[in-house]
């Protein structure tokens, strides 16, 4: 996209950051996974709605690793392809719980605003 107005790529990461971290941690709950696997899982589980850009995924993974929420280790896939597997840590699990409760509070709050009549 040729443009004279520069839009830093990072903005999109910022935009998704809170939720992307949570989604990645949630995916890793089921076991260690590599970057491609995480992207595929998110796509499949969202019913092909969520497309995670690699330009957001990898920065997020590397950042979370530095924050100590996930660990990485090189391993082999079933097709014998070397890949870097990410695994959630205890700290990551706590973070996931925090993100989740925050997210649920937000969904409830937004829901209240969008449909003000209380449902019985």
């Amino acid at each position: 996209m040729p443009t004279s107005e520069h839009q830093p790529y990072q903005n999109r990461i910022e935009l998704l950051q809170g939720t992307l971290d949570m989604l990645i941690l949630q995916t890793l709950q089921w076991g260690a996974q590599h970057g491609y696997g995480i992207a595929q899982a998110l796509r499949a589980q969202s019913g092909e709605v969520l497309q995670v850009e690699t330009g957001s995924l990898y920065p997020a993974l590397h950042r979370m690793e530095r924050q100590g929420w996930i660990l990485s280790k090189w391993g082999q896939t079933e097709q014998n392809q070397r890949a870097k597997y990410y695994r959630i840590t205890a700290e990551g699990k706590k973070q996931l719980a925090r993100d989740r409760s925050k997210w649920e509070a937000m969904v409830a709050a937004i829901g209240n605003i969008l449909s003000p009549t209380p449902q019985v």
Partner: protein, 887 residues
């Protein structure tokens, strides 16, 4: 974590990320193959889905915080490519900067040597120089005078030794040439060496520890004490072959035996630059320190502070204050030695620094102009990079890194140039104008050079970079043409005006100094300088303190010289024209100033002095062979003397007193140009001179004169003077074969020597002004010729429409002329300021010297016209039809 281990980790993370992305692509492609795509299709689709690999890497990696370093290396690599792609531009920039930075570094190393670098003595901040401050009304002129004097008299030296307890004191007399006969045996060769006279404790005060032996003791430093000598390292090595057992040996110095008591270590710097040292031996009234002629150094004793020492110093009694100034004030103070040594050269060196900073500014203005043109040419490239997603900050950084790379290369070459300049400066400038230990490129100078290159890169790299911010991507990419902006040539004209302004200031200053030098060199000499050769000889020699021996030496050597074929006349004098004379006041016993002292310069001369030099006799008679030591004491004076002290140009028959003697003035001769000894008003002047016959000089005067001066043997020849030197030495040998002449000087050499400071000034400033002029001419030429290139199409169209070549040339060339005119106007205003600063350096020339005021604009106008219209000649080769077809 250290810097390097962080970088290493960052590198490892990067290859890890590469692997990870490769794995991602492989997994995605494998998936697609499983769903039935061909291998090639799968690979392509995986890559498409992944997106921009480089960008993902960058974004991921940027988190690690080491991107700036990578950007810098990337920029640097790109900059190297740019530099190599445009060798002409790069070379022009590098050479210009090398020149600008080189002269600045060279001059800065002088500033460093004089003002910043610690003196080459241990704890140099504990060493100070004693200064006498006087202020009041001058009894001579009636004007207010303020003076800070570092020369002290005998009584002060005694008071300092008695009253100052917080600091150790030492005194230094002058440095003069003396005769050294190495070894006590008779046949050994006699050498003329420079000896400095210093007091006991001198080396302790400076913190110099002798390599062998010791400095002088108090017993050696008093009249009649044992004769001792301390050798400098170089002399010990050369003349005494570094003899380790030299201590206690006797050498023949000044015609008598001296015992070597010490040898100084290698690399010792002393203010007098003496090759050897003898005790000061202060004595009153006509010995060392007798006539306000020794400087006093103080070193704080351990545990003492400058407050304590300062209090003692300010309480020092000022001797003979009544004579200094009847209604004034006077006190002593201590000035740090570094400041004292720098005080003479401070102003000229800082002025020189200012002048060379002009050169660098002018160079930068040229480079900024050059870079502006290049940025305009690179507009498409910059626009493309912006379009491809580069940030403006990244482009600015890139342009700056390019400038920095060129500036750093320029700085390295500049350092080479600077060391070359310093090398040649040491060759043609005498030590008195150089800092102690010489100028050198040290860490401080390197820091200065580095910051200069950083600054210049900002100046000539940042200005164009600001322009690059204005590149309009859409229009530049769409038209693919050079974004030739009128604005850039406007900025360049402004730059040219600025550099012309600085050039005018330098030209004007150089002009005033040249006019001063011409004035001084063409002053009426007052004698016939052609075919005169002089030779100096040290008579500071125990054998010639006796007047009879002294007279016999003069008579026999002169008789031998007169017998030499080709010699017309010969004489000896304590000083010759263009040199300063011995300050020796005489007592006025009659006339309007009766009872006062007449401050004049004294010279003993042989009777043939005036005829040999052809100094005209104006009244009375010259000195004659009949003026014996026993006959009536007589003198000849110059016209200045008569005017000044008798208010009468013809004081023949009047009397003055000298000690117990009464002297009759028997003749008046014309003034000759001399370096002033009494009133330092100009480099050359015609101050009062009092000539007495050598035969009537008393032993004290002979000893004192010969201690501070080397008399000159003067020969007038019929032919060229150069061939006479051998004959002069031979003639001298007839009188005394052990005396060597120290050097032979024609009158033009002596004139040059007396104006050495002015010559250095003129040489430096003329070179700098010429450099500035050259750079400005290049700047103007560059501006106009790039305008010709940029506007070829427009000119072609104009000419096709009926305009003449001449009109086009004037229109384009005018841009250079207009810029120059503005610069000239501003520069003349600046010159008026500069001339105020230079005022103290000007003699015989007014600050608003009309000749300089006309000459500078004329020279500049000619250069500017040539530089402006030379490049427009290319316009005549423009083919209108072709430029139209290019559309």
């Amino acid at each position: 974590m250290t810097f390097w281990s962080r970088i290493l980790r960052s590198e490892r993370d990067k290859s890890d990320l590469d692997e990870e992305i490769k794995a991602h692509l492989a997994l995605a492609a494998a998936d697609k193959r499983d769903r039935g795509s061909s291998a090639e299709q799968a690979r392509r689709e995986a890559a498409r889905e992944f997106g921009n690999v480089g960008l993902v890497k960058d974004v991921t990696h940027e988190l690690s915080g080491w991107m700036w370093l990578e950007h810098l290396t990337q920029d640097l690599r790109f900059a190297v490519r740019q530099v190599r792609r445009t060798p002409g531009f790069s070379l022009a920039v590098i050479l210009t900067l090398a020149l600008g930075i080189g002269v600045n570094s060279a001059v800065f190393s002088m500033v460093n040597g004089f003002m910043l670098r610690p003196l080459p003595y241990p704890d140099a901040d504990r060493v100070a120089s004693l200064i006498l401050h006087t202020e009041g009304i001058s009894p001579r002129t009636g004007k207010a005078v303020v003076d800070d004097d570092d020369s002290h008299e005998f009584e002060t030296w005694n008071l300092v030794n008695r009253d100052i307890t917080a600091a150790q004191a030492a005194a230094q007399g002058g440095t003069t040439g003396v005769n050294l006969q190495a070894g006590p045996e008779q046949g050994a060769a006699v050498r003329y060496v420079h000896a400095t006279r210093v007091s006991a404790g001198y080396f302790d005060v400076l913190g110099i520890r002798p390599l062998l032996g010791r400095g002088f003791t108090a017993a050696e430093d008093r009249p009649g004490g044992p004769k001792a000598v301390v050798l400098g390292y170089a002399l010990w090595q050369s003349t005494f072959q570094g003899d380790p057992h030299i201590l206690g040996k006797s050498i023949t110095l000044k015609g008598e035996p001296y015992v070597v008591v010490g040898v100084l270590p290698k690399g010792t710097h002393s203010q007098g630059n003496g090759e050897l040292f003898t005790p000061l031996v202060p004595s009153d009234p006509k010995g060392e320190c007798g006539g306000n002629n020794c400087s006093i150094l103080l070193r704080l004793r351990s545990g003492a502070s400058w407050q304590q020492a300062g209090a003692e110093i300010s309480r020092l009694h000022v001797p003979q204050f009544d004579q200094i100034s009847p209604r004034g004030r006077a006190w002593f103070y201590a000035q740090p030695l570094s400041r004292y040594l720098a005080s003479q050269m401070r102003t000229p060196v800082l002025a020189l620094m200012l002048a060379v900073s002009f050169i660098l500014l002018i160079a930068c203005a040229n480079l900024a102009g050059l870079t502006l043109v290049r940025i305009d040419r690179r507009t498409p490239e910059i626009a493309t990079r912006l379009a491809l997603g580069a940030t403006r900050a990244a482009i600015l950084r890139q342009l700056w890194v390019e400038a920095l790379l060129l500036a750093l290369i320029g700085a390295v070459l500049g350092l080479v140039l600077a060391s070359g300049i310093l090398h040649s400066v040491r060759g043609f400038v005498t030590d008195e104008f150089l800092p102690l230990g010489g100028p050198a490129i040290d860490g401080r100078v390197l820091c200065f050079t580095l910051s200069m290159s950083l600054l210049t890169s900002l100046f000539f790299g940042a200005l164009p970079a600001i322009r690059a911010r204005r590149v309009d991507v859409r229009s530049s990419v769409a038209h693919g043409s050079y974004g030739v902006a009128a604005g850039s040539s406007r900025i360049r004209q402004f730059l040219i005006a600025g550099e012309v302004c600085l050039t005018v200031v330098l030209l004007f200053s150089a002009g005033l100094l040249i006019r001063t030098l011409v004035h001084l060199e063409t002053l009426p000499a007052g004698f016939d300088a052609h075919n005169v050769m002089t030779a100096k000889l040290s008579l500071d020699d125990a054998r010639y303190h006796d007047p009879a021996a002294f007279r016999s030496l003069l008579n026999r050597s002169l008789a031998a010289m007169r017998r030499t074929p080709g010699v017309e006349d010969a004489a000896v004098g304590l000083s010759v024209p263009y040199e300063r004379g011995l300050n020796n006041p005489v007592d006025m016993v009659e006339g309007p100033l009766s009872g006062e002292q007449a401050s004049s310069s004294l010279s003993w001369v042989t009777p043939g002095y005036f005829s040999t030099l052809r100094i005209p006799l104006l009244a009375g008679r010259v000195l004659a062979d009949s003026d014996f030591s026993t006959s009536e004491h007589v003198a000849v004076v110059n016209t200045s003397f008569g005017r000044k002290f008798f208010n009468d140009p013809n004081p023949v028959g009047r009397h003055v007193g000298s000690g117990k003697d009464k002297i009759t003035i028997v003749g008046v001769v014309g003034n000759v140009a001399k370096r002033p000894g009494v009133y330092a008003e100009a480099p050359l002047s015609t101050e009062p001179v009092f000539y007495i016959p050598a035969a009537q000089a008393d032993p004290q005067l002979i000893a004192m004169g010969n201690l501070w001066f080397q008399p000159s043997w003067i020969v007038r020849t019929r032919g060229p003077i150069e061939s006479i030197t051998g004959d002069m030495q031979k003639a001298l040998a007839e009188a005394d074969p052990t005396l060597p002449f120290a050097g032979f000087y024609g009158m033009s050499d002596l004139l040059a020597e007396s104006l050495v400071y002015q010559r250095i000034e003129v040489a430096l400033l003329t070179v700098l002004a010429g450099l500035a002029l050259l750079l400005s001419a290049i700047g103007i030429y560059g501006l106009v010729s790039s305008l010709v290139v940029q506007r070829t199409r427009e000119i072609g169209i104009r000419i096709a429409l009926g305009s003449s070549f001449g009109d086009a040339m004037i229109k384009i060339g005018a841009s250079g002329v207009v810029a120059t005119a503005f610069g000239l106007a501003a520069g003349l205003a600046g010159s008026l300021l500069a001339s105020q600063v230079l005022r103290s350096e000007l003699y015989g020339v007014r600050e608003h010297d009309p000749v300089t005021l006309v000459a500078v604009p004329t020279v500049l106008a000619v250069i500017a016209l040539v530089a402006s219209f030379l490049p427009t000649l290319r316009i005549t080769r423009i083919q209108p039809a072709e430029t139209l077809r290019m559309e």
